[in-house]
Amino acid sequence: MTKLLSVRDLRVGFGNDSKANEVVKGVSFDLASGETLAIVGESGSGKSVTALSINRLVDFGGGRITGGSIVLTRADGTAFDVTGSKEAALRQIRGRDVGMIFQEPMTSLNPVHTIGDQIAEAVRLNSGLRSDAARKAALDVLDRVRIPDAKSRMDYYPHQLSGGMRQRVMIAMALVASPRLLIADEPTTALDVTVQAQILALLAELRAETGMAMIFITHDIGLVAGIADRIMVMQHGVVVEQDETSNVLDNPQHEYTQHLLRAVPHFASGNAVRTDGERVPAREPVVKVDDLVVRFPVGGGWLKPKGAIHAVDGVSFDLVAGETLAIVGESGSGKSTTARAILGLVDKQRGDIAATTGRSKRPIQMVFQDPFASLNPRLDVEALMAEPAIANGQKHDKALRERMAFLLDKVGLPEDALKRYPHQFSGGQRQRLCIARALMLNPDVVVLDEAVSALDVSVQAKVLDLLIDLQHEFRLAYLFISHDMAVVERIAHRVAVMYAGQIVEIGDAKAVLASPQHSYTKRLIAAVPAIERRKQHFAVDVTQVPSLVRPAGYEPPDARWREAGSDHRVRHEDTP
């Protein structure tokens, strides 16, 4: 194999005094042609900045290469000095030698040009082909990234496509000039897990077809097992470990790599579920949801609504004290709407939500996904924590302050936190604050809506441990909404799988995760990346979520259920 890229002692800084503000502090690695390197690290590790330095896009984000060298071998065998080149020379390698795809397919495509035009532009810039020939090349590449009905999609604007489709368009645009190196910066982070599997499979296939090298940047060490030849782990701007994939995963040398591997929730197909809460069916449920239906009218205006989005369509379950029910599903499955309907944040069309009012007037409380958005930035912690109590008629007195101090201590925050403002805390600390606040009213049930999804993996693990401790101490019931199967496996006693507004499978966590029955559950579980399944080959499939928009007055047929075990029910699938 010939050497494609050589990075030596790379240093990159930001701001006016870029030497003093380095975020990449001496990174070295080599890449042979056709090889795939994964750069793994948490936020702030410098992994994206390293990648953006290779085609010098980092310059446009205010970064400056302060030291070291990047040398790229071009197709004709000449060495290209990236660090010492001027902008005009760098444009020659961008697109042509180095293609790039980004994390956010939603924002990475220009909203005012059709996707056909945007890809054709890449063709024109890098191959010299003009108008019709460029469009032809664009169409070919859309076919290659398996976009169904590519010809008509050429004239679509980005906002008319789903996230997964947009990421395919991004890949097409990067591939159209046949680069010899593709940099993929967290290309699947913003996508659903089944779509993520599709994109990973596509990247693997295209790499095999074209023989290009790839740099794959991710925060999720579990994701790279199946795709990378080598792994480079970064922390605080330096490389802590770099070796063949199997060596890093099976025999990590550096403490931080070991920590990452421990912290990443491994999905173990139901073999790692909790064993602390045997369900006793005789126990009275603390909350019982029966036939919950939420619909949003669409296509209306001045006239009668033409139809409705059936966001939640006949969902029923119950929850007993001390138990966690996880609702899993992808975006658009209705899992978050279910949570919000239970809290009364969206209006339900029908259905019963019966909660015992044992210890509190407001027995159900909620923790939101984004700890930055769910705390009012203008209030200090004392005001934030006191709000639920004051809303329920308590006075802001000594007893209340003691309660706040007690709960802060429980979630592992110091008492002097009371006088601080949200922006003075890290993401994990803020989420602890939100949890403490949700407990102020002594609820029976806490709804956790993607409550750990926005956190870095090592923080995520600690917050999950905290949640389990609190559940034991206060006999809380959790309704845990998540898209992440590995996280669900760690915290759930029971699992409900939602798809297109309905629960398709529900039951004991071990039963559902280990022997999924419904075809969607099977697909969902198969898509979960896992270190243990690194050799597994994902098939490229382009199944799309069905439309949830139904004509006015439409009622879904009654659900028919099948018992698959003592606590495991599966919905019959509609025969087409």
Partner: protein, 320 residues
């Protein structure tokens, strides 16, 4: 398109609101219309003569009757008769409007031709000396009232160059295009100055926002040149705030530039309104204000159409 339809539906509603407001408020102006019309001679009228005149103008009726009569006339293209000019209101307005329209168009052309390139240029030179100079000029421009510029302009032109801007009767474009442009040139510069400053500022900040968007990075990763990045990828996305601002300013200019018309002694809509209000010419005030509001709303509608043309997300709507 749904959004546009909704705008079209509220259009007459707002016009109705404007007409009621102006109809009622003008009748709250103290002093009688007849006294204002006749000046000192009003004292010589007998009570019977006054009543006859009031009946002629229809102002002897209750306000609501007057309003509905006026509204009924409106649908037949009859805006009433002006007491100052003793002619149909519509004729008076249409006589003044060409000047106002031409002045507004010339001012906007000046503003866009100067402001847009300057703003784009400054954004690409963010925080460098040339950007700073543009920003200072724009800030000064925005802080200088029209009448200050107008007066300074007249002063410097006459003292240092011996030029006296043509004033008085307007030469329409159809009669002598060159003279017409020449006559409105300095007033248009006066109005265009602050307008250009606002356009510069808004296009600079919109471009700065857009240039930090992800798709700009994508374009660069394809190897696009900085010219292509600016004109093809960034500018179309940055135009919406510029269009909004230009639309609002243009809409207001169509209502007449009262002060600048005063300074340059131009017979435009602005001075017509001023005269009509000070002389309590009810029909003329009602007619002109409604006409101005109508123009303003039409411009707003055009701005909405421009949004749709600029942004496919507005034009086409959600996912297929």
């Amino acid at each position: 398109m749904n959004y546009l339809a909704q705008r079209l539906l509220t259009f007459p509603l707002i016009l109705l609101g404007v007409s009621v407001l102006v109809f009622v408020s003008i009748r709250m102006i103290p002093g009688s219309q007849i006294t204002a019309m006749l000046g000192t001679e009003a004292g010589m009228l007998t009570a019977a003569q006054r009543e006859a005149l009031a009946a002629y103008f229809g102002i002897d009726q209750p306000v609501w009757t007057q309003y509905f009569r006026w509204l009924a006339g409106l649908f037949q293209g009859d805006l009433g008769v002006s007491t100052i000019y003793a002619r149909p209101v519509l004729n008076v307005i249409l006589e003044r409007f060409p000047l106002t329209l031409q002045l507004a168009l010339m001012s906007m052309t000046i503003a866009l031709c100067i402001g847009l390139p300057l703003g784009v240029f400054a954004a690409t030179r963010n925080e460098r000396p040339s950007d700073l100079i543009v920003r200072i000029l724009a800030m000064l421009g925005q802080s200088t009232p029209n009448f200050v510029i107008g007066i300074l302009l007249i002063y410097f032109l006459s003292v240092f160059f011996g030029i006296v801007p043509a004033m008085g009767t307007f030469t329409p474009l159809t009669v002598d295009p060159l003279a017409s442009f020449g006559q409105l040139f300095w007033p248009a510069v006066t109005l265009g100055f602050a307008f250009a400053a606002s356009v510069t500022r808004i296009s600079r900040s919109a471009m700065l926002d857009v240039l930090s968007d992800d798709y700009i990075r994508t374009a660069r990763s394809k190897g696009a040149s900085s010219m292509s990045v600016i004109w093809r990828h960034a500018l179309p996305n940055a135009l919406i705030p510029v269009v909004t601002l230009s639309g609002v300013e243009f809409g207001y200019l169509l209502g007449g530039a009262v002060i600048v018309e005063q300074i340059f002694a131009l017979p435009g809509l602005g001075r017509l309104v001023l005269d009509a209000i000070t002389q309590r010419d009810y029909a003329l005030v009602q007619g002109t204000v409604l006409f101005i509001a109508f123009n303003f709303l039409i411009v707003n509608l055009l701005v909405d159409l421009a949004y749709a043309a600029l942004d496919p997300r507005i034009r086409i709507g959600g996912r297929k």
